[in-house]
């Protein structure tokens, strides 16, 4: 699995923050759910997605 370099990760970080601010609280969950579905489809690996869900559920 490829990993992002620091510069790329920072760019994604900024873009995601900007998008969340742009959609506003009401549509934030919908936006994030859409994003996950799009990325999941691009990743094309059910196990990796389920592992990511588990990881994201941790330490909330």
């Amino acid at each position: 699995m490829s990993q992002l370099g620091l510069a790329e990760l920072e760019a994604v970080y900024d873009a995601l923050a900007a998008a969340i601010n742009q959609v506003g609280t009401e549509q934030e969950s919908l936006f994030l759910t859409k994003l996950v579905l799009l990325l999941a489809n691009q990743l094309g690996d059910q196990t990796q997605i389920e592992q990511a869900i588990t990881t994201a559920l941790r330490d909330l």
């Binding site: 969950s29 919908l30 759910t33 859409k34 579905l37 799009l38 489809n41």
Partner: protein, 556 residues
Amino acid sequence: MYIPDQTPRHSVYYNYSIYPFQTPPELRGTTQTYPVVIVGAGPIGLVTALELARYNIPVQVISAEVQVSHGSRAIVFTRRSMEILQQVGIAERMLATAYPWRSGNSIYRGQRVFRLEAPHDEDDRFQPLNNLQQQYVEQYLIEQAQLNPLIELRWGSQVMGVTSFSEHAELQIDTPEGEYTLSCNWLIAADGAKSTIRQVLGLRMEGASYRGRFVIADIKIDIPWPTERLAYFDPDWNRGNTILMHRQPEGIWRLDYQLPPNETPEQALAPESLNTRIQAQLDMVGVTAPWELDWCSVYSARAMTLPDYMHDRIIFTGDAAHMLPIFGVRGANTGFQDAQNLAWKLAMLLKGIGTPKLLTTYSSERVTAAQEIIAEASKSTRFMAPPDRGFRLLRDAVLSLSLTQAFVRPLFHWRTSRPHDYHDSALNALQDDNAQFTAGPAQGMPLQNIRLADNDYLFDHLGAAFHVLYFTDQIVPVAILDAIQTLQHTGIPIQLLTIGNQQRFTDQDGHFAKRYDALTGSAYLVRPDQHVCARWKSLSADQLKAAIYQALGQGA
């Protein structure tokens, strides 16, 4: 004293007939124990009665009502249902007025985001889906039953109680002329979703009840659209909810929409609320024609089944046995398969050919089918009417993506009722060549119809019996003919249908053999409910006999 409602129900297109109560022998002082009594003259009770009569079993059918279904209720009948209804003799009559169809559309923000065509095979006589109101189906079944001297219909007779014994059951029945007790060896409970018999026995269904409530409204209106399923997601006038539209004969359209949470059925059915919502939907789809309401009702989606359909001499079938969400047109279509599965097994047992074990496979096969349907239907329900925040968010994300992203569109798939596959049935042959076939219906599956000639199909030739489909271009081996004759002499209904050169079905172009992956000497053994229980690349007489005994529950 029970007085049924004798006023014909109101409808703008259907004329309700009254089937009057008639004094039964029990109220004139004669009593007897009947072999089979069916409680319920809905579609499932009636098909069960007609099916049993095909095997020469007499039946008494008891109904609290004196007329057919209030409103259209089940309107979509699948190909498999049509094949079953053909056997009981009403398919042709239904097709005279039913609307056949096969395409479903999902619409979001004015855009058609998904369209699915149910496959239609040129070997099939019936279209994948056929729309006709339940009143007509019941009427045709009743008229068919009235012609049959083996069937007695007792209208206006309400079952109040039931007592179960190990060898018989007794019903307490209330009528306009007073109460009586009816005794029978086998009692079939086809008394619908609110089954009195299920309640009296204290039996509980297992599964899920969804919170969403839906209004069904049938309106008379002229809309010049083809017969297709239309599903509108999240429209402006009913945010977050789904609206279905279905075309029915007689210029009727059904609108089916989900209610906002916390609204009561009374509020939902108040004329003002109905009118506003129906008009809002029509406005949205650009229909300006005038309309008139025929019937409306509220229902909630449930996906539940009894875990066992047999309790001593009481057998549950249809809605009395299970409650299924109607999104996939599952209520009646599932019940017909119950009726057909039950009838031959009970008939064989009553004739002393089948074993009690055979009859218990009615419960095991159909409970498994119901559980499978529930799992599948629950997926549709979660998409059509998301039960919680998580499912709602995912559904809304899919709706939003569907406008531009093709990969989410298959999630709109409207799973419709399918014939169940009894692949793990205890009635299937233990030793056959099932796994070696590369085509044709496998063990447990219903037969594939074959078009033999113009307006002539394989299913037209099937009767109330086991069938051996035997493929050969030569003469049928004597040993096989002898085996079939021996079985017939013991009272087993079994028919040989030969396929090939100079046979019953000539199969000139080899199409039949090809679809069934058959060579000379290959054979399929088909149960009376048209499901395959064994198939051989090359049939031997001994294997045929063993498979028949297995299918009658006489196996080890």
